[in-house]
């Protein structure tokens, strides 16, 4: 019930934050109104990273836990699965919005920049683990294999980022709060908090769904 409330509040707050971002925050000196897409793009990218990290956390906790009771073990597997799905959605959103923003600003839909390439790669990598999850039938082996991949993937992200960065770079540096108008900063932070609420709500819904799926799976077996 509390979490359902969280869902409704976050969606409403997201609406309010969007309104602020669209109408109250001033237009950018260089980019005009186009920059407003960043109020969704930047939080989406943050959430993508956060949920990739949560997936890593779930994976590593699954592998490290001592308990042998499967019903308790699989809690972390469920958590890793749910966060991987949200990570895929958020990376997809970040890349798509970034691309739409890049067209009027940089003049191209796509550029071979470290952060862009790494985010697109994250999308493919986590999508791959989701596909693998569907193909492995034994739940225990599935949990082990996907958790191992989750750990390796996440370790690879900084290495990929570093290597592409050494190679070439174009993405603009992050703006710091000091260089932005205060109401822009507020809009960005509000959007981030709202999106975080929505993502947590989605995570909760997904966890509940996973529990029901598992019960169905086990019901089918016995």
């Amino acid at each position: 019930m509390i979490l359902f409330f969280l869902g409704i509040v976050s969606v409403c707050f997201l609406g309010f934050a969007h309104y602020w971002g669209l109408f109250i925050a001033p237009p950018d000196r260089m980019m005009g109104d186009v920059y407003r897409i960043l109020f969704v793009h930047v939080p989406a990218a943050w959430m993508a990273l956060l949920f990739c990290f949560l997936n890593f956390l779930g994976s590593i906790l699954y592998l490290l836990q001592k308990t042998q009771v499967w019903q308790r073990r699989r809690v972390w597997d469920r958590f890793a699965h749910a966060s991987a799905e949200i990570a895929v959605v958020m990376t997809g959103l970040a890349v798509a919005l970034g691309s739409i923003w890049g067209r009027p600003t940089w003049g191209v839909w796509w550029t071979w920049d470290p952060r862009l390439t790494t985010t697109a790669l994250l999308f493919i990598l986590y999508m791959g683990t989701l596909i693998l999850r569907r193909l492995l039938e034994d739940p225990e082996r599935r949990a082990k294999v996907v958790a191992s991949l989750g750990v390796l993937l996440f370790i690879n992200v900084p290495i990929v980022y570093l290597s592409v960065k050494w190679w070439r770079s174009l993405h603009q540096m992050q703006s710091s709060p000091e260089t932005m108008a205060p109401s822009m900063v507020i809009a960005l932070r509000m959007n981030a908090v709202a999106l975080l609420g929505v993502c947590l709500f989605l995570l909760w819904v997904r966890l509940r769904l996973a529990k029901k799926e598992e019960r169905l799976e086990e019901g089918g077996e016995s």
């Binding site: 791959g128 596909i131 193909l135 191992s148 390796l152 370790i155 592409v164 050494w166």
Partner: protein, 220 residues
Amino acid sequence: MKAVRQIAALVHKDLLAEFREGHALFSVFLFALLLLLLFHFALSLEPALLRRISPGLFWLALFFSSTLALQHSFGREVEDGQWEGLLLLKIDPKVLYCGKLLSHLIFITILQALLVLPMILLFDLSPNRSLAVVFFLGGLGIATVGTFYASLTATLREGPLLLPLLLFPMMIPILLATVQATELALWGDLMGQKEAWLKLLVVFDTVFLLGSLLLAEQIS
């Protein structure tokens, strides 16, 4: 000591199977050669430009063909029930992983050596000794991640489909580092950048070798 003997036995078994069949190495080599020719047709560049990008083509050809070899090697194990047999022998999964890694690394090294002559002839390159380090570190990286992912997908019916999808994104740092280091080794390294790329390769190899060894038990 026992582990070393077991690894040696595993590598011996793999190499024996490889050379008795004989055609696997040869077909993979021909495939890599074919890829180089296909790149030439697809890119339709002048020889000078093609020569400039030839290190990238070489490593890409090696990526694709070595994955083919990996699939063949693991496919044979699973088909004949060897894989189950190996697991039933109660060998430490780490040892099993090391054995497969080493035999794949040997395969890749032979493939690299075979491809050097066509590269020299097709793209008019003059290789030098410093390339050996790049080849070794790159080959080790490809073998490390490749073996781990292949043993994940080996028993799946959709394995052949899934392996490249999961594997190639992981290998991007190797691709970038090896191509850059090869270019610098071939055409001179005025700014001393090669060291950095080699270090990246060393880091990648170490991290993933350790990671795969730690996780080997989880995937067998």
